[in-house]
């Protein structure tokens, strides 16, 4: 594990054609790492996560994505993912579509080293017909016919979290979603954190560690790295930006302008935050950075 800059981490660990797991289920979405991938012009990526939100839409708009493996993609609570929708309707994007449960199981299988897991979902309706080569498996004890969900082991995962120690043990609390499963199913992990704290602080609350040091390939300190999503205890969700994105992403030219200004037009997250200052740090005391045991 190396503590390095995010730019270096992405350069070293994301290759063209990789399958990339994007962490963050509403919470701790790794926007800074995703924007760095756009800036570096990585191409032909397969992106995966269960519930995909506007970071993945931006990566599509940025020209990085040839394929998606997702359970959902939209702007949660607001509407559609417009760059995704345009790319799909134009035929320039391949889509492999699961449900949030069955995709979680695919990652879980990858994490625990099972080549497949049986599921009681994808047994009816139109979804199973649109997944190529989807197999069933019969339980040898009950005779039940189940969907065989194949393991998914992404090449690299992007995870943003509250904090880590210098060894690379990463701690996240609040909503996890599929972040831990997806990251630990992946061969490599790029972690960004709000701050690095002393190892003894981490070792005093080992229940909060979601990624052990030996699984983390690169660690970068990127305060504000999840904006406009949030980091439990550090800053809250910038709902207005999601609403604004719904408006601006409806037209390709406006979306291009957004990426030019806020992704390509900034060198790093610090410069980005100069454009979108984090104003809401009014969390309860027990959730303040460093106050968490």
């Amino acid at each position: 594990m190396a503590v390095t800059t995010l730019s270096q981490a992405v350069r070293d660990h994301v290759s063209e054609g990789d399958t990339v797991f994007i962490g963050g289920f509403g919470h701790c979405v790794p926007f800074a790492a995703g924007h760095e991938i756009i800036r570096q012009g990585k191409r032909n990526l397969t992106l995966t996560r269960t519930g995909a939100d506007i970071l993945i839409d931006q990566l599509i708009a940025g020209g990085c994505v040839s394929r998606l493996i997702v359970g959902y993609i939209g702007n949660p609570g607001i509407g559609l993912a417009h760059a995704f929708r345009r790319a799909l309707e134009a035929g320039s994007l391949m889509l492999e579509e699961w449900t949030n449960f069955t995709l979680t199981l695919r990652l879980h299988a990858g994490r625990i080293g099972a080549p497949f897991l049986p599921a009681r979902a994808l047994r009816a309706g139109d979804m199973p017909r649109h997944i190529a080569n989807l197999a069933t498996v019969t339980c040898p004890y009950t005779g039940a016919v189940l969907t065989a969900v194949p393991a998914l082991c992404p090449d690299v995962a992007l995870v943003h979290a509250q904090r880590a120690d210098e060894d690379g043990n990463v701690q996240l609390w609040g909503i996890d979603g599929d972040t831990r499963e997806g990251a630990l199913a992946s061969r490599k992990i790029i972690a960004t954190v709000e701050e690095i704290v002393p190892a003894d602080l981490v070792r005093r609350s080992p229940e909060l560690t979601i990624l052990p040091a030996h699984r983390v390939s690169a660690l970068s300190v990127v305060p504000g790295g999840a904006h406009p999503s949030y980091v439990h205890g550090y800053y809250t969700r910038d709902d207005a930006r999601f609403a604004e994105y719904d408006r601006l992403s409806r037209r390709q030219d406006e979306l291009d302008a957004f990426l030019a200004a806020h992704v390509h037009g900034v060198a790093d997250r610090e410069a980005y935050l100069g454009q979108f200052p984090l104003t809401d740090l009014n969390w309860l005391a027990h959730h303040r950075p460093g106050q968490r045991p």
Partner: protein, 249 residues
């Protein structure tokens, strides 16, 4: 467009589908409003579960995302997707509340695509957890504004399986209960025989209002119940809820 009275009826009627002490898998939007209302009225010990891993959630504002701060901030337990979908698959979720872009007479739901899958007219968000909830909750209640274009004889794509003509198809595929009711701002439909049947209307709407514009001949119970209003305490709680900012808290 749904009027204000219809929005109110929909949330108030949907809330009544939650029973106290039961487990409910909740989605964003109307389902969350209904669940929040139920907890503030007749079902304070209903266990709200969000696919993000929030268990025993008690959001103080209507969340924009199942991963929003207000889901985490006040939850009794924070697990992960596997925890909550595991409970669902194990048959321990009593009720799922779902919305969708389209519904058909059997309660099949479409949240994937308008038009053909391979050549979409309008590509939607996809299943998320909806397919899983529709397949594996003990019971599903569908919440839909009365917008006739959403009610179609056959959905363009079955994201979340409802009933079908052959009554045992769900069971044969290992699925659980399926839709027990569909609620609009004008009335409540049941699926007692696997097909949507009007069972109740909410004042001031009539049977004709509840069926207005629907593109097939929806069956009507011999005796349609008429709900003149909701409990005053529930109506008051709804009014307070309606003044909350929608957002993530």
């Amino acid at each position: 467009m749904s009027t204000e009275i219809e929005s109110r009826n929909l949330v108030l009627a949907a809330a009544l589908e939650l029973r106290d002490d039961e487990t409910c898998f909740v989605g964003i939007g109307i389902p969350s409003l209904a669940a929040m209302l139920a907890k503030r009225t007749h079902a304070p010990r209903a266990h709200l579960i969000y696919e993000s891993g929030g268990i025993g959630a008690d959001p103080q504002v209507p969340p924009l995302s199942t991963g929003s701060p207000c889901i985490a901030e006040n939850a009794a337990m924070l697990g992960d997707c596997l925890d909550v979908f595991g409970e669902l698959q194990a048959g321990r979720i009593d009720l799922g509340l779902l919305s969708a872009a389209q519904v058909d007479r059997f309660g099949n739901l479409n949240s994937t695509v308008i038009g053909r899958y391979e050549s979409p007219r309008l590509r939607l968000v996809g299943s998320g957890g909806a397919h899983d909830i529709a397949s594996l909750a003990k019971q599903v209640v569908i919440l839909m504004p009365h917008e006739p274009r959403r009610f179609v004889p056959q959905v363009d794509f079955i994201t979340s399986p409802g009933h079908s003509l052959a009554g045992n198809e769900r069971a044969a595929a290992g699925l659980r209960g399926g839709p027990s009711a569909l609620i609009t701002g004008r009335g409540r439909f049941t699926f007692a025989r696997g097909e949507m049947v009007l069972a109740e209307v909410f004042a001031p709407f009539t049977v004709d209002d509840a069926l207005e514009g629907l593109s097939w001949q929806v069956p009507v119970e011999d005796t349609v119940m008429r709900r003149s209003d909701f409990a005053p305490a529930a109506a008051a709680a709804y009014a307070r809820l309606d003044r909350l900012p929608t957002g993530t808290g």
